[in-house]
């Protein structure tokens, strides 16, 4: 209690520094809802009911709507940000988990967890345009900036499937570390970074020839390798820095992209997985799957500012400013 006023002062000081009005939307698997948090005051503003078992969440092109994929509803809800209401539901095939969108927002590329497939879905009608068999438990979905190449991780096969979106064919299977999860592409488009949950690492894949050109192993003082389970990843717009949620190690790693080295480790909540940066990249939001909260990290100071309780088993995050 003694420290509460100090913390409040600190929070206010930071708030003054990044007083951008905005909202963070955090999906949670167990209560079918998005929790809304004010990015300036870090206070919970409310919740929006969603389809069942809400997981990956992403803002649609145009920035006025948000899509949240629901594994148990076999669909996504499209939510109008202004009204905070679900405006339509798009069928996404069996057990959708993660997705990406074509640059024009017309096609949703989604991993269908249980059937081991990737589906191309017409965003307007929910019609499956193509379905491609991939390795079991497909997870992360990432589209190249030009929309021509789709990358999908298979957790069971420890592969990244490289798919040509024009032909809907797997053109290459890239062996990465064990249990690959999420991906980020460097802004120059040359490198695909893949987190490997059971390999304590990130694999770096060349997008030119799809070879693995580097591996970054993580170390956290006091944690054994088996407890460092990287999942979420994002990068700054200039491509200089990457941020990786280290899962059960309860830390997020700041990585120098050019050097491929960890520069900072910040203690956050339990099972830190998905991560997102604010627009000005001054703050990193980390979703903690086992402690049912999110931690807001000050990037310049490499320090946690505040942890905010959200729904049960939080999963994904999208920030709108």
């Amino acid at each position: 209690m003694r420290f509460a006023p100090l913390a409040a002062v600190a929070a206010t000081a930071f708030a003054a520094h990044v007083a951008v009005a905005g909202t963070a939307y955090i999906s949670s698997e167990k209560d079918d809802a998005l929790t809304l948090i004010d990015t300036a005051t870090l206070a919970v503003k409310g919740t929006i009911a969603t389809c069942k078992r809400a997981r990956h969440v992403q803002v649609l092109p145009g920035g006025k709507q948000l899509m949240v994929a629901c594994t148990d509803s076999n669909a996504a809800d499209v939510i109008d940000l202004a009204s905070g209401k679900a405006v339509r539901r798009v069928a996404l095939g069996d057990e959708p988990e993660a997705f990406d969108l074509s640059p024009d927002g017309k096609v949703v590329y989604v991993s269908n967890e249980d059937s081991g497939e990737v589906s191309f879905i017409d965003a307007a009608t929910g019609k499956a345009l193509k379905t491609i068999k991939v390795g079991e438990e497909p997870e992360g979905v990432k589209l190249s900036a030009d929309g021509k190449t789709l990358y999908i991780t298979s957790e069971v096969a420890s592969l990244v499937h490289v798919i040509d979106t024009a032909t809907a064919k797997v053109v290459k299977n890239v062996k990465v570390g064990k249990r690959p999860r999420r991906m980020a592409i460097t802004p120059d488009g040359k490198e695909l970074w893949v987190t490997n949950e059971l390999d304590t690492s990130v694999s770096i894949v060349s997008t030119a020839d799809h070879s693995v050109i580097g591996t970054i192993k993580f170390e956290v003082k006091g944690a054994r390798a088996e407890d460092i389970t990287p999942v979420g990843i994002t990068m700054t717009r200039d491509g200089k820095r990457a941020f990786v949620g280290l899962g059960r190690a309860n830390h997020v790693a700041f990585v120098d992209v050019a050097q491929r080295k960890t520069t900072n480790l910040v203690l956050v909540g339990k099972r830190a997985w998905n991560v997102a940066l604010t627009q000005d990249e001054s703050r990193l939001w980390v979703v903690n799957g086992l402690s049912d909260d999110v931690t807001v990290v000050d990037v310049a100071g490499a320090k946690a500012v505040k942890s905010i309780p959200v729904g049960r088993v939080p999963y994904g995050i999208a920030i709108v400013e």
């Binding site: 079991e136 957790e155 054994r224 088996e226």
Partner: protein, 384 residues
């Protein structure tokens, strides 16, 4: 009776041509009494409810992409054996036919006979006997199924975590029960639990034996935090919860049971695995199924890592392989006794209550080694 499953992808194999095939043979008992309908339907926790082949097949099917991508293959054959001699003969025949690895869902004595008859590694899918990891250990025997000690330690840790330290131990009449009760007592000693009472029980309707058969009489006298029941058969243990004199939980072979897997486990991608199994075989995935599945995954992992083999390379790699069994950690075989180190789940049959090793328990190298025989004990003398 022979059944053959070619878990290979003929089209892919035809295209690849020179792809090496990892051949494996699974040896199971013929007319398995554990799987008689009346028993399997009871589905006692820790008992199998279906053939081991199911789990192995599922893993091979799931491994298709990984194997295709690597240009390799796994081929599984299943042989049924009537007795020990038939199991041994099946093993010799399999080795002769080129099997690089044997999988065995067999009793301990059969398993040893099989292992001693061949020069290839054997994956143990169901024998929990600690002697197979100690006095009777073998250098080429790998135990995917957890040992009795691992399970007893997992439960003992959980009781410590709950601060339920005073136990009433009830032990059944079979030789297996007597042996397992010794393992339980060792686990209690290891983790500082106290047996405030220890009684034998017997399934009986004979009024003269009511002291042995009646749960109320068995559980009266003295105070205890929980009743630990050792019942390899399972029928008595199932009736014990809610029938004790004192309102105390039952643990061991009923109530709260340590298992390698439960279909209701919710973390680390486990629901997907259980769902795929249920979809394929229309029954919940048990610990035995998970063990068979993981053995199949081990084959896929070996074949994908070294697509050209040869068999010697796969056999070499087995001792060091890191396996992802959807329990959130990498699992590997202990160098000192060939036991797979693994997380165990504590279940009441409806859900997963907790996991072991418990949070906060410490070990100098790998916290999974707080379950079962550790290296310093030097119980297995067979050099690996």
């Amino acid at each position: 009776m022979k059944r053959t499953l070619i878990a290979a992808w003929l089209a892919a194999a035809a295209l690849a041509g020179q792809a090496a095939t990892l051949k494996a043979t699974l040896i199971v008992p013929e007319d398995d009494t554990r799987l008689e309908r009346s028993r399997a339907e009871r589905a006692y926790l820790g008992h199998p409810t279906g053939p081991a082949e199911a789990g192995v097949k599922l893993a091979l099917e799931e491994g298709r992409f990984e194997l295709d991508a690597a240009g390799s293959n796994v081929e599984l054959k299943t042989e049924e054996a009537r007795d020990l001699a038939a199991a041994r003969a099946a093993a010799v025949a399999a080795e002769k036919a080129g099997a690089a690895v044997l999988l065995a869902d067999l009793p301990a004595d059969w398993l040893l006979a099989v292992t001693d008859a061949v020069k290839v590694p054997v994956l143990n899918l169901s024998a929990a006997d600690d002697r197979l990891r100690a006095a009777d250990c073998r250098a080429r025997l790998f135990h995917v199924y957890p040992s009795e000690r691992q399970r007893a330690d997992a439960l003992a840790q959980t009781l410590v975590q709950r601060k339920w330290t005073k136990l009433l131990l009830l032990t059944g009449p079979s030789a297996a029960d007597q042996q397992r009760a010794q393992v339980v007592q060792a686990a209690m000693k290891r983790y500082g639990l106290q047996a405030v009472g220890s009684k034998p029980f017997k399934m009986s309707a004979d009024p003269r034996e009511r002291n042995l058969a009646n749960p109320l009489l068995l559980t009266q006298g003295g105070n205890y935090d929980a009743v630990w029941v050792v019942d390899s058969d399972g029928e008595f243990a199932r009736t014990l919860p809610y029938q004790t004199v004192l309102p105390r939980p039952v643990v061991g072979d009923a109530g709260l049971v340590p298992v390698a897997w439960h279909a209701q486990f919710e973390r680390f991608g486990a629901p997907q695995v259980s769902r795929r199994f249920h979809k394929a075989y229309a029954r919940p995935m048990t610990a035995h199924d998970w063990t068979a599945w993981l053995a199949g995954k081990a084959l896929v992992t070996l074949a994908a890592a070294q697509p050209k083999g040869p068999a010697a390379a796969w056999q070499q790699a087995l001792g060091k392989v890191q396996l992802d069994g959807s329990k959130g950690v990498n699992m590997s075989f202990r160098a000192w006794d060939g036991q797979l180190r693994q997380t165990l789940l504590l279940t009441d049959g409806q859900g997963v209550i907790s996991q072991a090793p418990i949070e906060g328990i410490l070990h100098p190298t790998n916290v999974l080694d707080t379950l079962g025989a550790d290296t310093g004990e030097k119980l297995c003398k067979a050099p690996r």
